[in-house]
Symmetry: C2
Subunit: 256 residues, 2 copies
DNA sequence: TTCCTGCAATATGTCGGAGTAATTGGAGAA
DNA sequence: TTCTCCAATTACTCCGACATATTGCAGGAA
């Protein structure tokens, strides 16, 4: 998924997408992947609107200074994610938004790479507020001893490092992932992991905007205790509180 | 799982992925799309297991009787959906299941193309049972007059045609889509639409397995009435009943 | 022996050009 | 005006060559 680590140098957002393509290409990232990344961000950021055509294969590939092969492979990636559609004689057009695979990890990453759309962030939090408490409920019913051990360890790590550090945020992810794993539901795991990764990206904003407004540990402990006790309703409610808090913090940090 | 190396001499109707590629290619479907479709189904059906390598670009492309370009574009599609990963010198390997974008519409389609995995179907229904009632709750709070009109029309069409006909099923989809649209949440819309499309695919089994075990219209009406009345809790509960019923029908039809 | 360094083999990645197929839009006829 | 057909444009496919990166082995040092 690779949520980004975008190259700050490409923020020169002139009229043309052209040139600078190779500058985006990080180590280990293939050329067509870089092109897809660039075009995906350009579409998600609104630089290209639905209905716009990406002027001809040859012209565009030449403008980006890459071969048609690399350009076409990038387009296949975008097509696979429902962002564009190519037809002979018509060119490749940006599809209407409702065709986009908004829950695709890469698409989410592109959406949050630039200035994320406020409404979309709210939608995601709303979905999270639906899914995560339900996940906690299932986890409370299905967790085993091993699940609880992992959660406990993650909680301890969170206490040690706090959410201000990378290690602390990693522990936070581990905790939530352990809950998802305890649901024994692959679809739920994939969904929550995608949303969580994208939304946690906004946590960086939150941390940057102001000091931690509240100690999140007690809320996490409450979730853990409910899951450990097998209290389904309690786990769902405690997790609901957690998501609600995250929403408030993010909203205030983004000026909502 | 050893599908990788095949003796090129046996060109009969072996279980190999090779040949027949062009036969799959329907009108309007591009060659690389057909390849991706074929390989995607082969992976989702377990023909290739996670960790298996798709033996060399050149060899595989030749086996499929397509050019390397077409094969590579297909691989990019699968890569974009998290099914495989290609590295120089190492080949393209099937990724572990937790990396797959299970909620991608195409991936869902491939998963349900053959014999869908029972556990996965249950996971999806569980997720549906979480998401759809929540969607109905939001719809009850946010619907406008236009939304209600569309739902009403769809309901009338369902009554006329019944779920045994294509027109009836289309009306059913319209009804549920109208509810999703009324939530004003794009992420929720995309998610529920994907799951619904995949799960409704199993409806075909259901219809084939036995006659409609129960008239679904009254349950739909109950959902509509609650949404129209702005009764959030009632809408969620009524929708929960609807999903539960669909689960029971599908489970019994699949030999659960 | 064990570990590290460097070289070479191999498969993926990228390139550019040639040829095919399909859709579109207009010319021409009814 | 409407329909049919043709031709131009564009994406699609194929091919052969080169670039690049990773792997694994060979050889030397500790």
């Amino acid at each position: 998924m690779d949520m980004g680590q975008e190259d700050p140098s490409l923020h020169g957002d002139q009229a043309g997408i052209g040139d600078g393509a190779k500058a985006v290409r990080g180590p280990g990232r293939r050329l067509h992947g870089a092109i897809a990344h660039k075009l995906g961000m350009a579409i998600l950021s609104g630089h290209y609107a639905p209905g716009d055509v990406l002027s001809g294969e040859v012209a565009f590939a030449e403008e980006l200074d890459v071969s048609r092969s690399a350009y076409r492979e990038a387009i296949q990636v975008l097509t696979a994610k429902g962002l564009v559609e190519s037809r002979p004689k018509a060119g490749t057009r940006v599809l209407p938004r409702h065709r986009w695979n908004l829950l695709d990890p890469d698409v989410l990453g592109w959406a949050f790479a630039g200035e994320p759309d406020i409404q979309f962030v709210r939608d995601l939090f709303e979905l999270r507020a639906i899914v995560e408490p339900a996940a906690a409920r299932l986890a409370a019913q299905r967790r085993d001893r091993e699940d609880l051990r992992i959660m406990k360890d993650a909680l301890a790590a969170m206490r040690r490092h706090t959410l201000a550090t990378d290690a602390g945020r990693a522990a936070d992810r581990d905790f939530h992932n352990a809950i998802l794993h305890a649901t024994r539901n692959d679809a739920l795991m994939v969904l929550a992991a995608s949303i969580g990764a994208a939304v946690n990206w906004t946590t960086q904003y939150k941390q940057r905007a102001r000091a931690l407004p509240r100690n999140p540990i007690p809320d996490h402990v409450r979730v853990y205790d409910a899951i450990a006790a097998g209290d389904a309703a309690g786990a769902a409610e405690a997790m609901g509180v957690l998501v609600e808090l995250a929403l408030e913090d993010t909203a205030s940090a983004m000026g909502g």
